[in-house]
């Protein structure tokens, strides 16, 4: 079992491999491997998606995957 935390300034739905999987800023459980992360069809964040290989995490040290608001640029 691996752990990730998708970071974003507000609470948003998190899509992993195109499937809904909880919310931003929460620790989510996931199986090891390469996954696609997105925040849905809204266009006001960047990057549009992130492809990340998740491995060697612990519940105390989840992998943090950050997204940003476009207006923060």
């Amino acid at each position: 079992m691996e752990y990730v935390k998708v970071k974003f300034p507000t609470r948003r739905r998190v899509y992993i491999d195109e499937e809904e999987n909880g919310y931003t800023n929460e620790v989510l459980r996931i199986d090891a491997g390469t996954h696609d992360f997105e925040l849905g069809n809204l266009a006001n964040y960047r990057p549009a998606s992130r492809t990340v290989t998740v491995k060697d995490t612990t519940v105390l040290e989840p992998l943090e995957i950050a997204f940003y608001r476009k207006e923060d640029e």
Binding site: M1, Y3, K5, V14, I16, D17, E18, E19, E20, N21, G22, N25, E26, V27, L28, R29, I30, D31, A32, G33, T34, H35, D36, T51, T53, K55, V59, L60
Partner: protein, 484 residues
């Protein structure tokens, strides 16, 4: 009789045999006109009704012929008679079952429940459990009228068995009838793909790979595939129309296959590659041969374990956990595995060929089943350890003063209840030995079946995790330790 007349008669007989053989092709699984993820037999398509996700219950039924079917049926009866308090009202635990995963003999009560719901309790004992199914199958195979059919290369004893189940057990029902019922539990009958050695679940997600419509497949053929015990019964053949329905693999498949060389998660990569192989255009494998589900996993727990530990599963429970939809997860494993006594070691004689072959065929399966149950235990322990670790760190840091408080985020908390119903948990050695020496057959004496039904109920009531669940849900099982 002249030589010419004899030759003519032989030619006629040969022609009749050929015609009969050609006419007795088994029914084909229909092609899928176009890939339609919004329809078909899929977990997310079934109406939840009153069944909540918060209490998520998975039940697995193992293989083991009528022995397994009767034990599984006894557990279903016990779940019907178990009352819990959930979301402000009292209800039967059976109505909270979300998924049933079954193998071989266990697939008969599973399929029947998928089709008829609670009517199983009025119909199934006489339609299946108490019937001399084995005798009927042997008679059918020995009846000369069927020899012509059996002579066809694409028709085997399991096709004959499937016709019998279709007529006598399932009344001609197909998956279209199960889809029309449109309610949980999602029932997954499992067979084994002979070529890849992997589990083959009868769900639309699997049939999508072959561009085939599961709705047109009979429950009898699914149950016959799941219970095609090697040797006694033949494999069943399914058509693969891959490449003809504009199918699109889920996003994770390409990513997991690309992980192969890096060995990040070999199990996930293997699942992706298996999907790619089945769906390869051409198709690369135009026919798929399915044998007993027990060859890949005799307790039906591997699929549920993947659903609990992976977000990339057609009915992923982990996704539901991440969405905070599940707060209690119950996994009830009903395992009718036996361990027949043998006098082999009382003699210096070299064990015979049959003894050796049957040992070679069954021991690896039993060992694999043991490891599968251990995997469930370690998965549960991983969830518990993770949650306890974070809570412990938060408590320790808070104890050092407010300025040290960490408040580490905790993953959504899920309470897990792994429940096991298996002969090895029978207390009395004598009674345990009796059950562990029952044969694997589609025919058992009525009193043996009644004993298995009662045992399923008793072992469920005695399981410590089941008792914890009843305590947590203010529940009781009629006739069990906790009075209702």
């Amino acid at each position: 009789m002249t030589r010419a007349r004899l030759a003519a008669r032989l030619a006629l007989a040969g022609w009749a045999l050929l015609a009969a053989a050609c006419a007795s092709l088994p029914p084909e699984n229909p092609p899928l006109a176009s890939y339609a993820p919004e329809s078909g037999y899929r977990f997310e398509r079934l109406e939840r009704g009153d069944n909540s996700d918060e209490l998520f219950v998975i039940v697995t039924f193992s293989g083991g012929g009528t022995r397994a079917a009767a034990l599984a049926y006894g557990v279903l009866e016990a779940l019907r008679d178990t009352t819990i308090e959930w979301q402000g009202r009292r209800r039967a635990l059976l109505d909270e079952v979300d998924v049933i995963s079954s193998i071989s003999g266990g697939s008969f009560p599973a399929a029947y429940y998928a089709l008829r719901g609670r009517r199983i309790f009025d119909e199934f004992p006489d339609r299946f459990l108490y019937r001399p199914i084995q005798t009927s199958l042997v008679r059918l195979a020995l009846w000369p009228g069927n020899w012509l059919k059996l002579a066809a290369p694409s028709y085997g004893r399991s096709d004959l068995a499937a016709e019998f189940y279709d007529r006598e057990v399932f009344g001609g029902a197909t998956y279209a009838d199960v889809i029309a019922r449109n309610r949980r539990p999602f029932v997954v009958l499992n067979a084994t793909d002979m070529t890849t050695g992997t589990q083959f679940p009868f769900i639309q997600d699997q049939f999508d790979l072959m561009c085939s419509d599961l709705a047109g497949v009979s429950l009898a053929r699914a149950a016959a595939s799941s219970s095609a015990f090697p040797g006694g019964l033949t494999a069943l053949t399914f058509r693969n129309y891959a490449g003809s329905c504009q199918y699109r693999q889920p996003a994770w498949v390409a990513l997991a296959a690309a992980d192969h060389a890096a060995r990040v998660n070999p199990r996930r990569s293997a699942r992706a590659e298996n999907r790619l192989s089945l769906a390869a255009d051409g198709p690369a494998r135009p026919y798929i041969h399915l044998t007993d589900g027990g060859v890949a996993d005799n307790i039906g727990l591997r699929g549920p374990l993947e659903a609990i530990a992976s977000t990339n599963h057609p009915w992923s429970v982990l996704r539901l956990m991440n969405r905070q939809r599940v707060s209690r997860l119950v996994v009830i494993v009903v395992n009718a595995a036996t361990n027949p006594a043998t006098g082999r070691d009382r003699s210096a004689a070299v064990p015979g060929l049959i003894d050796t072959l049957s040992t070679a065929a069954t021991v690896p399966l039993d060992n694999y089943s043991f490891d599968t149950v251990e995997l469930l235990r370690s998965t549960v322990s991983e969830f518990d350890t993770g949650a306890r670790l974070v809570e412990g760190c938060n408590r320790l840091s808070a104890g050092k003063g407010a300025q040290c408080a960490l408040e580490l985020p905790v993953p959504h908390k899920v309470e897990l209840y792994p429940v096991q119903v298996a002969f090895e948990y029978i207390g009395s050695r004598e009674e345990r030995a009796w059950f562990k020496n029952l044969p694997t057959s589609f025919e058992l004496p009525r009193e043996t079946i009644d004993k298995l039904r009662a045992l399923g109920r008793r072992l469920l009531a005695e399981d410590p995790q089941f008792q914890n669940l009843l305590k947590a849900l203010n529940g009781c099982l009629a006739g069990g330790a906790t009075t209702c």
